[in-house]
């Protein structure tokens, strides 16, 4: 088959941030549009896509010959962010830090480099526009297409089905001993699926060949797991995976402007907006009831964050939940209800009409949880499917990493098209480039962050401590004034008396440990 010309040079699976950037960069590298096929499950493209969502970073600037005037013309780029808030919410209180930066307006005249740095986005809309522009540039876009299998050279695709890859075997064990139906197949077939040359895709029984397949399928990465870029068991471990549950609430442009202190855009800028993220310690009562009813997970503290972003005439609001911290007895969507009802949040969304509900996984794996390989003979994995997300609570990046990985892959693939070598070794340059890029640099430099974010302290006593401290330092109710240090010592003592868990959590060694991790954020 390799002797014949492939149907396409490149087939890209998924037209999200990673896939669309890869296609655009391929065009920039001189690959003909009609040699690139982009397939997407959504119809129209973007219909399956959802993010929090803020797009940070100016990755799109480099692609503006394909996506001209993207900041103003893309209907899903809602507001640029010049107002960032980081909060700590406990059941009673909220302590929220706020920054409002003139330099983020990007109009010059400030002491900091003046640049718009982030935008609220609605992905069903942004991605439909990206697809439209790629199509105008000559790329084949096929919406409403789900890829069942990858085409492996020398392997008849009818010798197994997509279901065999993701269904437990009859003789499967439980937990770590899970086995998939495919493992009981002829070892030659299994080996071809895991290590053979990938040469295109299979959809509805029909093979389309390509020299390279780019897997940009997103966080629910069925193909990446099935085709052994990662072991299914490794990928199925829910440690390090987050579920985002979200609402879009319509409030009207004017109301958002006045409620959040934003201003309307002009010819050069979209309207300005606010991005808030918060650590949540607001589920005490829910957790206690859950522990009582389901002792099997008693003591498990839901580690969750909340966000609120302004779009042009809507708000994006939601919670992210670390799935390995969810106790039995708490529904993820009920956590969204608790967040929406919090006294610091409720007034901000009051009077709004919910216009959409949705949920999506976030692959905030950290380094140790990324797929074990990102390159195979004839295929690469980019974006969320590759686990390229970083967050330390204050900085949350993923969409820009996706774009960057797409660009890096495209540059390597363009070279491979030139040389005609699509081997794992040749395509492996992508992994090297990724390792050398700011994406992996960030992930490596801040590798302790995942541990810090998985520490119960941030979802129990830390938000409570912050809120109560601030309250006591700034209030005036006739009590004797003491220094901040004394106030902190006193509060710590008081809180440690409450229960054994807090006593241990606020112990000196634990504080030192947290501080050590916190320094590396």
């Amino acid at each position: 088959m390799s002797e014949e010309e492939a149907d396409f040079d490149v087939i890209i699976i998924g037209c999200g941030m990673a896939g669309m950037a890869c296609a655009a960069q391929l065009l920039k590298e001189g690959v003909e549009g009609d040699r690139i096929l982009v397939v997407d499950r959504g119809e129209p493209v973007g219909a399956k896509n959802l993010s929090g969502g803020i797009l940070w970073g100016r990755e799109l600037d480099e692609l503006d010959d394909i996506f001209p005037n993207w900041e103003m013309d893309n209907p899903g780029i809602e507001r640029y962010i010049n107002n960032k808030k980081i909060g700590f919410l406990s059941s009673d209180d909220a302590f929220i830090m706020e920054g409002k930066f003139a330099s983020w307006d990007g109009i010059g005249g400030t002491s900091e480099p003046s640049m718009r740095t982030g935008w609220s986005v609605l992905r069903a809309r942004t991605d439909a526009w990206f697809a439209e522009k790629l199509e105008e540039a000559g790329v084949f876009i096929m919406p409403g297409i789900k890829i069942d299998q990858l085409n492996i050279e020398g392997l008849d695709h009818t010798s197994y089905t997509a279901r065999d890859l993701t269904s437990p075997a009859e003789d499967s064990g439980r937990g770590k001993n899970q086995k998939w139906r495919i493992s009981n197949f002829d070892p030659e077939i299994v080996d071809a699926i895991r290590n053979g040359k990938i040469r295109g895709i299979v959809q509805d029984g029909e093979v389309m060949t390509s020299n390279v397949v780019v897997i940009a399928e997103g966080s629910n990465s069925i193909l990446t797991r099935s085709y052994a870029f990662d072991s299914m068991i490794h990928a199925q471990d829910r440690h390090g995976i987050i579920l985002g549950v979200k609402e879009v609430i319509h409030l009207g442009e004017e109301e958002i402007n006045s409620r959040f202190g934003c201003y309307s855009g002009d010819d050069e800028r979209p309207p300005s907006g606010m991005a808030m993220e918060a650590a949540l310690a607001i589920f005490d009562d829910m957790a206690e009831k859950a522990w009582e009813e389901y002792p099997v997970t008693a003591g498990l503290v839901p580690r969750a964050g909340g966000w609120l972003y302004t779009n042009k005439d809507t708000l994006s609001i939601g919670v992210v939940i670390q799935l390995d911290s969810l106790p039995s007895g708490i529904h993820t969507y009920d956590m969204l209800a608790a967040y929406k009802a919090h006294p610091a949040i409720a007034p901000l969304i009051r009077g709004g009409e919910t216009v959409e509900y949705g949920a999506h996984l976030v692959p905030e794996y950290g380094l140790d949880r990324m797929p074990t390989r990102l390159v195979r003979d004839g295929a690469v994995v980019i974006g969320d499917a590759a686990g390229l997300v970083y967050s330390n609570g204050a900085v949350i990046q993923g969409q820009n990493y996706s774009i960057h990985s797409g660009k890096l892959a495209a540059k390597v693939i363009a070279n491979c098209i030139g040389s005609g070598d699509f081997s794992e070794k040749a395509l492996g340059q992508y992994k090297k480039d990724l390792d050398a890029s700011y994406v992996m640099r960030d992930l490596k430099r801040f590798k302790t962050t995942a541990k810090f974010l998985a520490d119960d302290a941030n979802y129990t006593w830390v938000p409570k401590f912050m809120g109560t401290m601030f309250n006591r330092v700034v209030r005036e109710i006739g009590e004797e004034k003491i220094t901040v240090e004394k106030q902190a010592m006193r509060l710590r003592k008081e809180m440690r008396r409450k229960d054994r868990k807090t006593k241990k959590g606020m112990g000196l060694l634990n504080l030192i440990r947290l501080g050590m991790m916190g320094r590396k954020l």
Partner: protein
């Protein structure tokens, strides 16, 4: 505020939320998630029930003796596939053209 919310227990009207998403539901024979509910019997954590943001799984939480699964409301997030430790789940995306449609995202 409901009585439950007053004591710190909140309930989200998930059916209302799901009603805001566009669906094109495929026929039963093409259901994208298949649950072998026989394997769910002695599962005591029922993590699919708690994790699923679309209430596709109902079991002892609502007083049922048997796992009741429906794929129709699924938002295709993949959480249940990660949550199940009993090998009861077979997961795939819906066929092209079927499943959810977000208009905001």
């Amino acid at each position: 505020m409901t009585e439950k919310a007053k004591i710190g227990l909140f309930e989200y009207d998930v059916k209302n939320g799901l009603g805001l998403i566009g669906y094109n539901v495929d026929e039963h024979e093409h259901a994208h998630i298949i649950v072998d509910t026989k394997k769910c019997g002695d599962c005591d954590s029922m993590m699919c029930v708690w994790g699923c943001p679309a209430q596709c799984y109902q079991f002892r939480d609502v007083g049922l003796d048997e796992m009741k699964f429906q794929y129709e409301d699924c938002v295709e997030c993949g959480t249940c596939f990660l949550m199940c430790t009993d090998g009861a789940l077979s997961w795939n995306h819906p066929r092209g053209g079927f499943g959810i449609t977000y208009t905001y995202g």
